[in-house]
């Protein structure tokens, strides 16, 4: 052995370290297995299917490479669905985040008892069956005999057609989605507000900052992690909207509320074109992934 050379000693784990590692891996293994079986493998299988002319009708499923992806890009209905999905996602994200924050700020100023009561009340839609909500909203949106048009008539508005109009259907369904998710957004922002030290607000007040300045320069930046979380999750949720669309309009009138997940569902489970549906699903995955990437980057750059 040359002078100065250091002999590398084999790494040895103490029995405590070994036991600790075994415990960690033993605890993680079940959840990793579940993830592998119910998430990772289906994603890989879906990609495999998307490379084939895979129909449930018939036994032949030839390999066609990226043909399904090319077909998606050449399909006008894909772009219509993409446009509607983006419309829903952006509106849903902005409204849920803004209104949720507003609601949390309003509740923040209340005494504890009314704050807890209102928090519970606003959270109820989140835990209510979306089917039940949709059925009620269909009656609320009834153009002739619905309660909403009746109430609007007292202030000289309407009558509106809601889901019976190509221009009003998306705002109507967005309103349902936002109403349902508002409580969740409020709860998340409430926990974010609680984590902000009151001393910071007091210090700002002493230094002469107005309420708006305190809100914009202190509270908003400190809520950056919460806001980032809400922006990302609402954007993903918005692009994945299906249940509300299915229950309220089935993508109509015409294609006015046709969204990507509905397109995937109908291609896969109504027309049985599994290969094409899988390609559509991967497009959705890529689109959402890119948007979320830029969202996170923008938020971090803006707020540090």
């Amino acid at each position: 052995m040359a002078l100065g050379a250091v002999k590398k000693r084999p790494r040895r784990y103490s029995s405590t370290q070994l036991k600790r590692n075994l415990f960690i891996w033993g605890s993680l293994t079940p959840i990793l297995l579940l993830f592998l079986i119910f998430a990772a493998l289906p994603i890989v299988a879906s990609f495999y299917i998307s490379l084939h002319d895979w129909s449930l009708v018939g036994a032949e499923r030839p390999f066609i490479g990226l043909r399904n992806y090319v077909d998606v890009l050449q399909d006008d209905r894909f772009y219509i669905a993409l446009k509607n999905s983006a419309y829903y996602a952006v509106a849903y994200m902005v409204l849920v985040v803004a209104l949720g924050l507003g609601l949390a700020l309003l509740l923040d100023g209340l005494p504890q008892l009314p704050r807890e009561v209102f928090r519970a009340v606003y959270f109820v839609p989140q835990v209510t069956s979306v089917v039940a909500i949709a059925l009620i909203f269909r009656w609320l949106y009834q153009p002739q005999w619905g309660v909403l048009n009746y109430l609007f008539s007292f202030v000289g508005l309407g009558p509106f057609s809601y889901i019976k109009s190509s221009t009003q259907v998306m705002p109507s369904i967005i309103a349902l989605g936002v109403w349902r998710s508002l409580g969740y957004s409020m709860v998340i922002y409430t926990s974010g507000l609680v984590s902000i030290s009151p001393e910071l607000k007091e210090a700002a007040s002493i230094d002469g900052a107005s309420k708006w300045q305190t809100f914009w320069r202190i509270i908003i930046p400190l809520l950056q992690p919460t806001t980032l979380f809400m922006l990302v999750t609402t954007m993903i949720g918005g692009f994945q909207v299906f249940t509300e669309i299915w229950l309220m309009s089935r993508g109509g009138p015409g294609t006015a509320s046709r969204v990507l997940v509905l397109e995937i569902y109908e291609q896969g489970f109504r027309f049985f074109e599994m290969g094409y549906a899988s390609a559509l699903a991967f497009f959705l995955f890529i689109i959402v992934g890119v948007i979320v990437f830029f969202q996170m980057r923008f938020t971090r750059e803006t707020y540090g």
Partner: protein
């Protein structure tokens, strides 16, 4: 250290455990051999003595009674078949009872019945077939037949069953279940959605029952009522307004009565014609998208299109509703009733014993007395050359039986019909909502369908 006594106690308890297990196994075996007892509603004739105007008479009357039926446990060499249909209570209850009765008459056959929501039905059948474990008897919607047949997933009927269908049923039964020269099953029921009126509203308005589309249009002015704000108080009719199969069926009768059709038998678009435009413009008078879906049940609409199966729904949900079926309307090209079928199909996967049992079961299920059971349950029309004698005077069935003579399938046997239906009904819906004209709707529909046809 365990004492001798403790060891003895544990040995005794293990012995007791083994005895218990053996006893349980014996009980289970006994239970498997014990016949299952179920209740069934059957019609029996009874002799009763009645006094009429001082005279004693002996009469034979029919009464319905609940009886218990023993369904013997299937013998080891018996066959088990699975059977599925869409959900429509109480039809499912009637079907389940019929399954039990068949098992009572055929002890070597065990039937497992599964009602499935309509929205999941086709998917359920497809995935079960793809998984190699299909239902042995499937209640299939007619337009789905081509995709199943072209996928090699259905068994054509053996010759003796084809002969039975030829001899004992109307031609539409065989025609609707035939594809590329082969018959694929017995028809479960024929979907005829024809006019059903609210007789009370017609009488109150002094309106005559219309026979033609022109007369129907004239009657609307007597029945349509709005308040001073323009809101509906009463509607003359409420036909389908939202995309999907119901809109296609309702408009289909208009279309074909005006001499047009959705597609020709060689799959060419045939609805974008002057006759089609005229039919669609006429349809708009009877379809009101701003009316609630349940207007007819709520006594707010004087007419809707529905089928013979709606009888049970009317009786249950609107018992005071004075409903009455009338003949389908005559148009410029005659009287045509857009129709569809549901039929019992046997998949190509299965043992010969299962397939034989399945064919025998569907043949049995299509006997006049079994159709009569389904009529009693929900009003499904018996599809036989002649109505069973007991229902010959039934006014509800009489009308639909007459309409059967004008029934025509509204769809071609095209494997992508589901996609055609979606594309066309999207445009029909936009027209009904007043967003586009009839000409634009049919042109858009034609363009979309031609694009689909070009894909092959």
């Amino acid at each position: 250290m365990e004492t001798k006594e403790a060891r003895a106690r544990s040995r005794i308890s293990r012995r007791t455990l083994m005895k218990g297990l053996a006893g349980s196994a014996a009980a289970a075996a006994l239970a498997a051999c014990t016949p299952e007892v179920v209740e069934q509603i059957v019609t029996v004739k009874e002799t009763v003595v009645v006094e009429v105007a001082g005279t004693v008479e002996i009469r034979e009357v029919e009464v319905e009674k609940v009886v218990t039926v023993e369904v013997p446990a299937a013998a080891d060499e018996g066959v088990e078949i699975t059977w599925a249909s869409h959900i429509y209570e109480p039809w499912n209850n009637a079907l389940a009872a019929q399954g039990m009765q068949f098992m009572a008459e055929n002890p070597d056959v065990k039937i497992i019945y599964s009602p499935i929501p309509f929205a999941e039905l086709n998917t359920k059948f497809m995935t079960a077939i793809a998984g190699g474990n299909p239902y042995n008897v499937m209640g299939i919607y007619g337009p789905w037949m081509p995709q199943f047949v072209l996928g090699g997933q259905l068994d054509p009927a053996p010759d003796d069953y084809v002969q039975d269908i030829d001899q004992n049923f109307p031609p539409i039964m065989k025609e609707s279940a035939t594809f590329e020269g082969h018959v694929y099953g017995y028809v479960q029921h024929i979907g005829i959605q024809s006019p059903v009126i609210n007789a009370d509203l017609y009488e109150a308005a002094g309106a005559q029952e219309p026979d033609t589309f022109d007369e129907l249009l004239a009657v609307q002015s007597l029945l349509d009522k709005k308040d001073e704000d323009g809101n509906w108080i009463q509607l003359g009719s409420t036909l389908a307004t939202t995309r999907g199969v119901t809109l296609m069926i309702h408009f289909g009768s208009f279309l074909m009565s005006h001499g047009a059709e959705y597609m020709t038998d060689d799959f060419q678009v045939a609805f974008n014609t002057p006759e089609g435009i005229e039919a669609l413009d006429l349809y708009a008078n009877f379809a009101h998208p701003d009316a609630p879906d349940q207007s007819f049940y709520l006594d707010k609409s004087a007419m809707e299109f529905n089928g013979p199966w709606a009888k049970s729904a009317y009786d249950e949900q609107a018992p005071d509703l004075n409903y009455k079926a009338i003949l389908c309307f005559e148009g410029p090209a005659g009287r045509v009733q857009a129709s569809y079928v549901w039929f019992w199909a046997i998949p190509s996967i299965g043992t010969p014993e299962q397939k034989l049992a399945a064919w025998e079961f569907t043949k049995w299920l299509s006997a006049p007395e079994q159709y009569a059971v389904q009529y009693r349950a929900i009003g499904l029309m018996p599809i036989t050359n002649e109505l069973p004698e007991e229902y010959a005077d039934d006014p509800w069935l009489q009308v639909f039986n007459e309409i059967l003579g004008y029934a025509r399938l509204y769809y071609p046997k095209y494997e992508k019909w589901e996609q055609v239906e979606l594309l066309v009904s999207e445009e029909l819906e936009r027209f009904v909502l007043g967003e586009i004209t009839a000409a634009e709707a049919l042109q858009n529909g034609e363009d979309k369908v031609n694009e689909l046809l070009a894909e092959g």
